[in-house]
Assembly symmetry: C2
Homo-oligomer: 257 residues x 2
């Protein structure tokens, strides 16, 4: 039986990257897309609470049924699983994002929010991102690699509790693929400050990622900088088991206050 593959993204059902991903995946199984009606970049694992969510059926794309949801990427996964997919899908692929999700950007990424949600539902899940923000970005160099990675995921699955964060250099033919860790870093100059016509300030998110370990040769930033595709395995469960042991003696207590 052909695998059932769910596809979503955070750039919306209108983003070209979604359809480039479907182009690859139709070869491997039955693909159904459930994507946000509007752009959801930066939505992380946000869910819509106290909101009426709707599912809209859109025209098929090739053999792929396409649906939109007026919510976040995680809403698309949750509601897609609950009310669109005919059964639990065998795989979930998210993307191809128009823009990088390397380094600490994974934390804010709606693309990876969706992949983590699939992972938490027990579905082998992967997010793909191209290091180019434009909706006119050229995905062609990355396509054979995305196909290769998808084939490996579909053949080997992914261990439970882990999903893959795949970033793809833009405008060059990648030199290969490297599994690595997320670079530690931070954003600097995060806001532009403006004055509105009445002279009151407002702020607009901007900034640039500062890699705090530029000399490390095992990070996604390093390999992307060397024109390789990076694959970071990301854990859904954020508990630090080592810290559980360390800090127990400090905080564990019984009632005595």
């Amino acid at each position: 039986m052909k695998p059932l593959i769910m596809v979503t993204n955070d750039d919306s059902v209108n983003a070209p990257g979604l359809y480039r991903l479907i182009d690859v995946l139709q070869e491997f199984g039955n693909v159904i897309a459930v994507a946000p009606a509007r752009p959801q970049s930066g939505m992380s694992s946000a869910i819509s609470v106290n909101t009426a969510l709707r599912i809209n059926s859109l025209p098929d794309y090739g053999d792929t049924r396409v649906f939109s949801v007026n919510g976040t990427p995680v809403d698309c996964v949750k509601l897609g699983l609950a009310a669109v997919m005919p059964r639990k899908p065998d795989f979930l692929f998210s993307g191809i994002n128009h823009g990088s999700n390397s380094g600490t950007a994974i934390t804010y990424s709606g693309t990876m929010g969706a992949a983590l949600e699939g992972c938490m539902a027990g579905i082998p899940s992967v997010g793909f991102s191209l290091l180019h923000h434009s909706l006119k970005a050229d995905f062609s160099f990355g396509m054979p690699f995305i196909r290769e990675i998808a084939a490996k995921v579909i053949e080997n699955r992914i261990e439970p509790g882990i999903c893959l964060n795949v970033n793809i250099p833009a405008k060059v033919e990648p030199k290969g693929v490297r599994v690595c860790r997320a670079a530690k870093g931070h954003w600097s100059e995060e806001y532009s400050r403006y004055l509105d016509p009445e002279g009151h300030p407002f702020y607009w998110l901007t900034g640039r990622f500062v890699n705090e370990e530029p000399d490390a040769d095992d990070t996604d930033e390093y390999w992307l900088g060397n024109e390789f595709i990076s694959i970071v395995p990301a854990r859904a469960d954020q508990t630090d088991m080592e810290a559980v042991k360390h800090i127990r003696r400090l905080y564990d207590s019984d009632r005595e206050l």
Copy 2:
């Protein structure tokens, strides 16, 4: 010098839990609050992109200056650090959330999104949540324990890369405090389905958390069920270093496609 303490939450600047947390913290240092103008439950680590953010100065609460931001909890932390705080704060406390953030709820929690953001900025950070959704929830049983935990954090700080997810049982005097791991689980029956007046369906998020390891005695769900406060140390970096090693042989490749 007294420590500088930043406080935020996800229930908004109008939520009583924010002020109960400030009540505790004013004893320990100079407290400044930067909280969302409107409720942001379920916003995870979402950031507002392509949006004009504003900072509003509100009346002081005791010795605490209070500001609101028209964005997410992470926006409050980022913009608070960039444009409100006189210097990098020594500590960040988020909450007290009106509602549980135990188990896998941490993934969706705006309270913990803010704490993780503080952690990523190198600030020892803690999120507090009470297992009661009502804005009229009674925090009094938890207050001495919150004070005790805050005192320990301020004395000992927290190791870099980790923040603390503290959940507090409601309506009972806690029996004590336990450091533990997040219970694995999932939500079931996640959506209520309705028909609008024109007969078109819409969906509303609901559901209940199913603890998939009810017999484990080292999880937050276990200890909360036994009327203890749970503390889960959460990692900001989601890279699974073991998986980096496992999957390298499968995915690493050089150009040959």
